[in-house]
Symmetry: C2
Subunit: 187 residues, 2 copies
DNA sequence: CGGCTAGGTTAACGCTCATTAACCAGCCTC
DNA sequence: GAGGCTGGTTAATGAGCGTTAACCTAGCCG
């Protein structure tokens, strides 16, 4: 029959898993479901991953790294703190609109990770938060680190709300989120 | 031994369940865990609730109703749209700071509800969103309903981020969230 | 040609979980 | 003081899950 690209099974599994985990939660998707959704069945998954946990781990570590790496690059290219924050907002908004499933899984299911992966993800997230926090503190000198982190967290919450509403087309959602985020940051 | 108030078992179960569900997720807490946490064991829970699902259902319906009812009252008491929005922000911020567990469970685990309860909760949430949306549209005439809803959703995301960070004491968090929320709404 | 490897299959295992069954003690009421 | 709620107990049940075992086939390589 050859319905789907045999491209790379691993990649395919990760994509499909992101969608399913987002819809029904990590524990709401069985290995059997996941297999069926990619056209193989059940235990064949173990030819590609060590465990169900490992699928989640690879998925979450990859996006945390990507979010941080690209964020860092954009900050490096920016001339000043305000520009850096604008660039960070753009990046995060684009990412949230392009990968709503990953956003959902990342903040709903990170608790299901095995301890070492969980620590890795938490640590990458902390770095990402601190990337934002540092720019905020360059811009508004009075801010403590924890204040700046709290502000960053709140703005993430704002942007990450996208997957929960999705009432407008992306072209309308993008500027709306950008402006709300920038106003919330007072940039 | 008599360690805890025997006040009302039902109530106690709901409180403890909120905390546990928030920490480990609905599927991450077994009926046995829940029983142990309130000092009874396992199946005794069925003397108070029809099922594990029913605990979640009662919890989520109750808070959705409370959020809406109080929100409605505050709007009714407000003189104009801007005051109404300020009152809604205050209410939502206070609630999120007082009941972080419920906030977490509500938006992480509503998918685990049995269909009728899920519909009830979704419908109450829609009403609550529309309460905000209506005030936004009174204030900024050009807004479509879906635009206003999207804005409300984003601001909820901002405020509901509280339980994920919690780096500052409530007294510092409250004004920070209030101001960010109001700026995000452009009020 | 012969065998290794990659990527599948189905069957079986063992565990956990929600739920039910069966039973029991104390208390309130008539 | 007999009897029925109320709120517990432990044991059993049955389903679903992640994972492992055992086996198979096709293609590549020497």
């Amino acid at each position: 029959m050859r319905v789907d690209r045999p491209a790379d099974r691993r990649e395919q599994i990760l994509e499909v898993a992101a969608r399913l985990f987002a819809e029904r939660g990590f524990h709401g998707v069985s290995v059997g479901d996941l297999g069926k959704a990619v056209g193989i069945s059940g235990p064949a998954l173990y030819k590609h991953f060590d465990s169900k946990d490992a699928v989640l781990a690879e998925m979450l570590i990859a996006i945390s790294e990507r979010l941080l790496a690209e964020g860092q690059q954009r900050v490096d290219r920016a001339g000043n703190a305000a520009d850096a924050l604008r660039a960070l907002v753009d990046w995060h908004v684009d990412f949230a609109l392009a990968q709503p499933s990953l956003i959902v899984v990342q903040d709903r299911d990170w608790r299901s990770l095995p301890a070492p992966a969980r620590e890795r993800v938490r640590s990458l997230q902390r770095e990402y938060v601190d990337l934002w926090a540092a720019q905020l503190r360059r811009l508004r000198r009075g801010l403590t680190l924890d204040q700046a982190r709290s502000i960053a967290h709140a703005t993430f919450g704002l942007i990450n709300s996208t997957p929960h509403s999705r009432l407008l087309p992306d072209d309308a959602m993008r500027p709306l989120l950008r402006e709300m985020a920038l106003r919330s940051l007072d940039v």
